[in-house]
């Protein structure tokens, strides 16, 4: 109860400007942090020699054995050694009672034989062993499509924003924010050695949607606050943008929490009980992306928009007017800048 009151008070103070975080004022610092993060996200995969690509990208055969009593890895390895495959299998216990065996691609006969051996070795029924073989082009198809989708979405999203907000600067700022999200999420993926599967690639695309969505909400407030900034001398443009970010901060926090909770629930329950699979891969990408997306809107996209506009002569003049008024009104206060 008291926590809620505090949070409401926090919201009130952010709304009135009584409490204010210098999102715009310290923007150079955020840019540096973002630049370093992006650079690291590019360098880490290079240093590590790429991503941990899923079987869909490498090509290979995969077996999943469910309802296993004894989850010994050696059982699976022995079972396969009987088949002359020439492939080195990776046997993993991916979830309680579930084993996954991955190896280079097998032909039909070998697949059937491996399957038979696994059924015998783990003492399960025919239904409980699934096999899955994937050509290396399958993953490339998916990522090729994803790249197309990425550019189409970025283009249409940029046009949509430029039309809705009637300024290309907001659109540009939003897109820069979007790229930061993409790179950093990819970097985190590489750093943590998460497996990149087609589902993860799709998760990335969904993050774009989420990130842009979040930016639209914050920018809507920015636009509202700065609509008649040219006739106002109450706050400078940068201060108005900063106020808008602060005013929507509670909403941003609430939104990210609410968006992350179900995703996290899928991620943890899925990962704990199911192991690798569509649900886990999707939710993993989303989990990382939602958090990065919110941060990027607040720290990069919105301050960048302010930065882009600050060079405009009108905005410069307005800022000067605000400063003049302040100097005239209270000569006593030296440290006048709110932002």
């Amino acid at each position: 109860m008291s926590a809620t009151s505090k949070f409401a008070t926090f919201g009130n103070e952010l709304y009135t400007g009584k409490r204010s975080y210098p999102f715009v004022g310290k923007r150079k610092l955020w840019y540096w942090i973002a630049a370093i993060a992006v650079l690291a996200s590019i360098l880490i995969p290079i240093a590590k020699g790429g991503f941990n690509l899923g079987i869909e990208f490498r090509g290979g055969s995969e077996f999943t054995v469910s309802s296993v009593e004894n989850t010994e890895v050696s059982i699976g390895e022995e079972a396969i050694s009987g088949v002359n495959t020439g492939a080195e299998p990776t046997v993993t216990n991916i979830a309680p009672n579930t084993m996954r065996i991955q190896m280079d691609r097998l032909n039909d006969d070998q697949t059937l034989q491996v399957k038979e051996n696994l059924i015998d070795a783990y003492g399960v029924t025919q239904d409980e062993v699934t096999s899955n073989y994937i050509g290396p082009t399958w993953g490339q198809d998916v990522s090729g499509k994803a790249i197309t989708g990425f550019f189409v979405f970025v283009f249409l999203g940029a046009v949509l924003m430029a039309l809705y907000f009637r300024t290309w600067k907001m659109s540009l700022a939003a897109m820069v924010g979007l790229f930061v999200v993409m790179f950093v999420t990819a970097g985190i993926y590489s750093l943590s050695n998460f497996e990149v599967t087609p589902s993860a690639v799709i998760g990335f695309l969904t993050i774009l949607s989420y990130s842009l969505y979040d930016t639209v909400v914050v920018f809507d407030k920015v636009r509202e606050n700065t609509e008649d900034v040219d006739v106002s001398t109450k706050r400078s443009f940068a201060e108005q943008v900063n106020l808008a970010i602060n005013q929507t901060l509670v909403r941003s926090i609430n939104t990210s929490v609410v968006a992350v909770l179900p995703v996290a629930s899928v991620l943890f329950i899925g990962a704990l009980l199911l192991g690798a699979g569509t649900l886990r891969d999707l939710s993993l990408a989303l989990f990382v992306g939602i958090i990065v997306g919110t941060l990027s809107t607040v720290f990069i996209a919105a301050p960048l928009y302010a930065g882009l506009r600050l060079r405009e002569p009108d905005i410069k003049r307005q800022s000067k007017r605000v400063n003049n008024r302040r100097r005239n009104e209270d000569g006593l206060a030296g440290n006048g800048a709110v932002v």
Partner: protein, 587 residues
């Protein structure tokens, strides 16, 4: 809407929502009773169990590009093969104009797989024997079976017919669907075969291949014209053979024409994938390689045959690019856990909303439930009408959508709070907050929809399901926030609990600093009746409780010059006089 009272408008809007619900429920209910619909959504392969194969087409003997038409033709041929092999509910689709996706329940045996991968064989074979549909005749006694007396000299030579072949022919019942099952092995082009014509139920013994389908240059259809060049009201299919084909076809028509119209050997059969698709009689020797087939064609059947013939010119085989076998147990587990985690996620969201927004959180939860029911009905109806199947990725999409749906309410509630902070009473805060939130919600949902559409169109495989549910829930969210959440808020604003700003309502004015404590140039105003007077006339504003006093004292104590200026800056100026014009016009 502005002239109507909010309550009337709200009631009217809620009735509309009721109408939509009733319409959806009745559609589905009617579909369940009289149609094929079911109350539960159809499940995709990954949840139901089965096999999904992604096939890459390969043109035999050439690097020719495959057109969408040919791919569509290939899909229909694979569908015929799969249906013919007795697998029900197979789903065959093309993907990105390049691949064919075959989804089958269960695990196909190697025969079925070979069948799917095999190229379609089109060939022209001379007819040796023919029998009409019913097979109830008595078999020819053993001693009367024709026995070859010599080595066959040409394709129409009856010496091809061995006793075994004749017996098999007599046993064959072409009205039995089993007989139409495509053979796993394509027939040997140099040997005779027996075959059915599914359209008529006739059965045939056919000689070796006279002209292979690859010799077809092109095929089309049109109205036949007679020897005087007059166009007749009769559809015909025109074939154009290449050089080799012309030679071979000339040879075969010369031979067939000589048999005379009554002899079955006058016919030749066009065989696609082992079944006879047409068996025209020969009326003339065709020396130019441009035969025309006429008969009782309709425009559609002529078009269909021409398409099949064209396909014959380009035999496509398929290579399995990816094959995934999904056991039903694994799928059911995944669905169960997916749903459990969805419910847990929903519960967490509910707890968080209640924590943040008190009873308003309840509005969020009910709105989410309404959105959920709406989405469920839509998915079930789409499953019935469009054969939409819910996949695991689709379930993931639904769970992800919980957060995005709840966000619309958060944007709205925060707006209402902002309006309350500006000193509005509850009713006008709801109206004004909505006017602003509406715009934001529309713009941001447009982004969601855009993403869903882009994802859907570039999607591969299961991603489509994901994109589809994302788009569907974005629409459901819009419907709910417009037709449920907002009118509900309008009604609630009139209640004592919310309108009066009960401390548990989530809209407690004292919590939201509704009464400006600092006013004008640093002047401190007592948070007392004077402040309430300012809000009088706008019904419902709650008098400042004693509870608020310590808070204001505390604030007073902390007041510094800089803070005072900030507070001053935040004061009504930008949002001048809470009900004044400029703000209203921003919309």
């Amino acid at each position: 809407m502005s002239r109507k009272s909010p309550v009337t408008a709200a009631r009217r809007t809620l009735i509309w929502l009721g109408v939509i619900f009733a319409a959806l429920a009745l559609t589905l209910g009617g579909g369940t009773m009289w149609g094929e619909a079911s109350w539960t959504p159809k499940l995709a392969l990954d949840l139901e169990g089965g096999t999904q194969m992604i096939l890459a087409p390969k043109v035999q003997g050439g690097g020719e590009e495959i057109t969408q038409e040919q791919l569509d033709q290939a899909v229909s041929i694979i569908r015929q093969r799969v249906d013919g092999s007795g697998v029900s509910e197979a789903e065959i689709t093309t993907q990105s104009g390049r691949n064919v996706v075959v989804s089958l329940p269960g695990i196909p045996d190697s025969d079925t797989r070979d069948l799917i991968q095999a190229s379609a064989q089109m060939e022209f074979r001379p007819v040796l024997m023919r029998a009409p549909a019913p097979a109830a005749e008595t078999p020819t006694p053993k001693d009367q079976l024709t026995t070859p007396t010599a080595k066959p000299t040409n394709g129409s030579d009856l010496n091809w017919v061995t006793p075994e072949l004749q017996q098999k022919f007599e046993k064959l019942d072409c009205t039995d669907p089993k007989a139409l099952e495509p053979a796993a092995e394509p027939a040997d082009p140099d040997k005779p075969m027996i075959s059915c014509e599914p359209d008529t139920g006739s059965k045939y013994i056919l000689g070796p291949v006279a002209v292979p389908g690859t010799d077809i240059e092109s095929a089309d259809f049109g109205l036949r014209s007679n020897s005087q060049g007059q166009t007749l009201n009769e559809w015909a299919v025109n074939i154009d053979f290449n050089g080799d084909g012309t030679e071979k076809f000339k040879e075969v028509t010369t031979r067939l024409y000589s048999f005379g119209q009554q002899d079955p050997r006058n016919q030749f059969a066009i065989v696609l994938d082992g079944t006879v698709i047409s068996a025209p009689t020969t009326n003339a020797v065709i020396p130019d390689g441009k035969p025309s087939i006429s008969g009782s064609f309709t425009e559609d059947s002529a078009a269909a045959l021409a398409e099949q013939l064209k396909y014959g010119a380009l035999p496509i085989s398929f290579e399995i690019q990816s094959e995934q076998q999904i056991s039903a147990t694994l799928g059911a587990d995944q669905l169960r856990l997916g749903l459990i985690s969805g419910v847990i996620g929903l519960a967490l969201v509910a707890v968080y909303s209640m924590f943040q927004y008190r009873m308003l959180g309840l509005v969020t939860i009910v709105s989410l439930v309404v959105a959920g029911v709406l989405t469920y009905l839509a998915i079930a109806i789409l499953g019935w009408t469009q054969n939409y199947r819910l996949s695991l990725a689709g379930v993931a999409g639904l769970i992800v959508a919980i957060g995005q749906t709840a966000d619309s309410f958060i944007v709205y509630f925060e707006r209402i709070r902002d309006e309350l902070r500006d000193g509005r009473n509850m009713v006008s805060a709801v109206e004004n907050g909505w006017r602003r939130a509406k715009q934001t919600v529309l713009a941001s949902k447009a982004v969601n929809l855009l993403a869903a559409v882009v994802l859907f169109f570039v999607a591969v495989g299961s991603v489509r399901g994901f994109a589809f549910t994302l788009g569907l829930t974005a629409i459901a969210d819009l419907i709910v926030v417009f037709l449920f959440t907002h009118p509900t808020m309008q009604l609630l604003a009139k209640t004592k609990f919310f309108g009066g700003g009960h401390r548990w309502s989530g809209l407690d004015p004292s919590l939201l600093d509704v009464v400006p404590i600092y006013r004008g140039a640093g002047r401190l105003r007592e948070p007392s009746t004077a402040a309430v007077d300012a809000n009088k006339g706008r019904a419902g504003a709650k008098p400042i409780s004693a509870r608020n006093k310590p808070a204001s004292k505390e604030a007073e104590r902390r007041l510094t010059i800089a803070e005072r200026r900030k507070a001053e800056g935040a004061e009504p100026n930008v949002y001048a006089g809470s009900d004044s014009a400029p703000k209203e016009e921003n919309n």
